[in-house]
C-alpha cells in the first residue's frame, strides 16, 4: 500500500491533522487507530468543558470528538480501526496489523505522529507493598466507569491531583463510591483550579498537598494505604504516617508521551517533554515526519491540541506537495531559560516560518506577578505580565516573523520568566 500521509492515531490530534491536510489539498490520507472507534481519549472524558476556544461552547469529550469525526467522514478521509502500528521506518514505511489484513506495510510520503500519551504507572512511582487488585491508573478507571460500565471499587484514595485524578474523584463519588482523600506530593495541585472547585470542593473531598502514599496493604485486594507528609525534598517525614482503609487506589501521577514508534523511526526526543524535538513546522528530526498533540508534549486543553494538529496537517500537506523547502542546517534555537522548562517548537527556520508563530511552554514552579519575556539574541522584544503562572497550565506566546527578520544575525530566541524588580 501507499499513501501521501499516514496519521498514527485517531484521537483529537490525528483527526484535526487529517482534516487540515485534506483541506490543504492532499487526498491520499490514511488514519490508523488501534481502538474500536475514532476519538481517542475523548471518548472516556464524558465530563464537559471542552471546546470553549474552538467552538465557543462547552462540550463533553465525546461531543468534541464527534465534531471532528463527522468532518473526517464528510471529507471521506479513509481510516482503519483496531489497527496497531508495529514500526515506522526512517524511510516512512509504516508497518501495521489488524484482524482483516494481518501484517501489512504502507509506504508513506509523510507521517504524522499523533499517538497521544500514557499514564505514569505504579512501577514508576516506587510504592512498596504487594501487588493486590484495586490499583488502577486514573485513566484506566475512567475507561472502566465511563465506557465499559464497571466500577473499580467502593472506597477510594487517589494519589496525584492532576486533572484526571480530580475528574475521577467526582465521577467515583457520583457513582456511589466514597473518595476518602486526594493526596498530592507537590505543594500545589497539577490540575486546573476549576476542577479543584467543581470536583473536590463540591463534594467535600479532602485534598492534602505535600502528601504521598508510602505503603499499600492487602495481598489479594487493597485493604488500606499509608499516607505521609513529605518534606521540601519530597521525602516522607517519619511520624506523619496515617493509615486509610480503602479497596481502591487510583494513580494520577502524570502523563508521558508515547514515543516508542518515534524512537524506532530515528526521531530525536527531548528529555524534558519525552516528546520529539520539532521545528516551526512541527517536523521532527526526521524530514517528513511530523508530530502533534500529546505525543509531542502533554497538553491540558484539547483545543490547543486541535490547533497544533491543524498546523501539523498543513505542514505535512505542504511537504507532500513539495511546498515546504528542506530545513536549513543553521536554524535558530528557541531556548527555555530561568523558569521555562521547555518550548515547542525548540528551533525555527525563519525562511519557513509563517507570519506568526506560536511558542508553547510550561513553567517549572508557581510564579505570581511575573513576566513572560522574549529575547532575540540579547534584546528583549516582548514582556507580558501575568498575575499567575503554574506548571499545570501550558503557556503560549506569539512571535512575529517581521521581528525575526529585523534582527541582524539572529542566532537565539530566549523565552524566560522574569520577576518584578
Amino acid at each position: 500500500m501507499t499513501a501521501d500521509i499516514v496519521i498514527i492515531g485517531g484521537g483529537p490530534a490525528g483527526l484535526a491533522a487529517a482534516v487540515s491536510a485534506k483541506e490543504a489539498g492532499v487526498d491520499h490520507i490514511l488514519i490508523l487507530e488501534r481502538d474500536k472507534e475514532l476519538g481517542g481519549i475523548l471518548n472516556q472524558c464524558i465530563h464537559n468543558g471542552f471546546g470553549l476556544h474552538t467552538f465557543h461552547e462547552e462540550l463533553t469529550g465525546p461531543e468534541y470528538a464527534a465534531r471532528f469525526i463527522s468532518k473526517v467522514k464528510e471529507l471521506q478521509i479513509p481510516y482503519m480501526l483496531e489497527t496497531i502500528v508495529i514500526s515506522i521506518g526512517n524511510d516512512k514505511t509504516v508497518t501495521a496489523m489488524n484482524k482483516e489484513k494481518g501484517l501489512f506495510t504502507i509506504k508513506a510520503k509523510a507521517v504524522i505522529l499523533a499517538m497521544g500519551c500514557r499514564e505514569r504507572a505504579r512501577g514508576a512511582l516506587n510504592i512498596p507493598g504487594y501487588r493486590p487488585a484495586g490499583i488502577y491508573s486514573a485513566g484506566t478507571a475512567q475507561r472502566y466507569v465511563n465506557m465499559e460500565g464497571r466500577m473499580p471499587g467502593k472506597e477510594v484514595v487517589i494519589l496525584g491531583s492532576g486533572d484526571i485524578g480530580l475528574i475521577m474523584a467526582r465521577r467515583m463519588t457520583l457513582e456511589g463510591a466514597k473518595v476518602k482523600l486526594v493526596a498530592e506530593i507537590m505543594p500545589y495541585s497539577g490540575g486546573l483550579k476549576r476542577n479543584i472547585v467543581q470536583c473536590l470542593e463540591d463534594y467535600d473531598i479532602p485534598l492534602k498537598l505535600n502528601h504521598t502514599v508510602t505503603g499499600i496493604k492487602g495481598k489479594e485486594r487493597v485493604e488500606s494505604v499509608t499516607v505521609a507528609k513529605v518534606d521540601e525534598n519530597r521525602k516522607p517525614i517519619p511520624g506523619t504516617e496515617e493509615e486509610i482503609t480503602c479497596d481502591t487506589l487510583l494513580l494520577s501521577c502524570g502523563l508521558i508521551p508515547e514515543n516508542e514508534l518515534s524512537k524506532e523511526a530515528g526521531v530525536l526526543l527531548n528529555p524534558v517533554t519525552s516528546g520529539p524535538f520539532v521545528n516551526e513546522s512541527l517536523e521532527t528530526s526526521e524530514a517528513g515526519i511530523f508530530a502533534c498533540g500529546n505525543v509531542l508534549h502533554v497538553h491540558d486543553l484539547v483545543d490547543y491540541v486541535s490547533g497544533e494538529a491543524q498546523t501539523a496537517g498543513e505542514k505535512a500537506a505542504a511537504y507532500v506537495k513539495g511546498l515546504l523547502p528542506a530545513s536549513k542546517e543553521e536554524t535558530t534555537a528557541v531556548s527555555a531559560e530561568s523558569g521555562v522548562r521547555y518550548t515547542v517548537p525548540s528551533k525555527l527556520d525563519i525562511t519557513r516560518m509563517d507570519e506568526e508563530q506560536m511558542i508553547r511552554f510550561r513553567v517549572d514552579n508557581i510564579y505570581r506577578n511575573a513576566y513572560i519575556a522574549v529575547y532575540l539574541n540579547e534584546k528583549c522584544i516582548k514582556k507580558i505580565k501575568r498575575p499567575m503562572l503554574a506548571p499545570g497550565e501550558m503557556e503560549q506566546v506569539k512571535l512575529r516573523k517581521a521581528d525575526m527578520e529585523q534582527c541582524d544575525g539572529l542566532v537565539k530566541i530566549t523565552i524566560k520568566i522574569e520577576q518584578e524588580v
Binding site: G61, G149, R194, Q198, E393
Partner: protein
C-alpha cells in the same frame, strides 16, 4: 454585606472572583475577565447549578455505556437525585448526539441528552 471568594468554573482560566452580596440581595462580582464569569458569580451566590455528566446503559452498541449530560445546569442540590433517576435507564442503539434520554430530570424540567453517537453493532 457579605463577601465571598469564588473560583469561576466556566473555562480553564479559573478566574478568582469576589462576590459582594448586599443586604437587599444584590450581588456585585469583581475579578472576572468575561461576562460568563459575572453570570457564574451571581448564580453561584444565589442559586448554584451544575451540568451533570454521567452514563446510562445501552444495548446493541460496541460498548455497554452511553455518555449523557443534563442539557443545562440543574440545581446543585439535585445532582445526586439526577444520578439516582438515571440508574435504571437503559436505551437501545442507535443513539445520536442530542437525543433525549430522560425528559425531565429530578423535577427540574431539564432533559438529559446523549453526548455520543452510538451505531447499532452488527456483531
Amino acid at each position: 454585606m457579605e463577601e465571598r471568594d469564588l473560583v469561576c468554573i466556566c473555562c480553564p482560566l479559573g478566574c478568582s472572583l469576589k462576590a459582594k452580596i448586599e443586604e437587599n440581595g444584590e450581588v456585585h462580582i469583581s475579578g472576572n475577565t468575561c461576562k460568563r464569569g459575572e453570570d457564574y458569580g451571581k448564580k453561584e451566590t444565589t442559586a448554584p447549578t451544575r451540568i451533570v455528566t454521567t452514563t446510562v446503559r445501552i444495548k446493541g452498541g460496541v460498548l455497554p455505556a452511553l455518555s449523557v449530560k443534563t442539557q443545562d445546569g440543574i440545581p446543585k442540590n439535585k445532582v445526586f437525585e439526577c444520578i439516582q433517576a438515571l440508574q435504571d435507564v437503559e436505551v437501545e442503539a442507535p443513539v445520536h448526539i442530542g437525543d433525549i434520554i430522560f425528559a425531565d430530570i429530578a423535577g427540574t424540567g431539564i432533559p438529559v441528552i446523549a453526548t455520543k453517537e452510538v451505531e447499532k453493532c452488527m456483531e
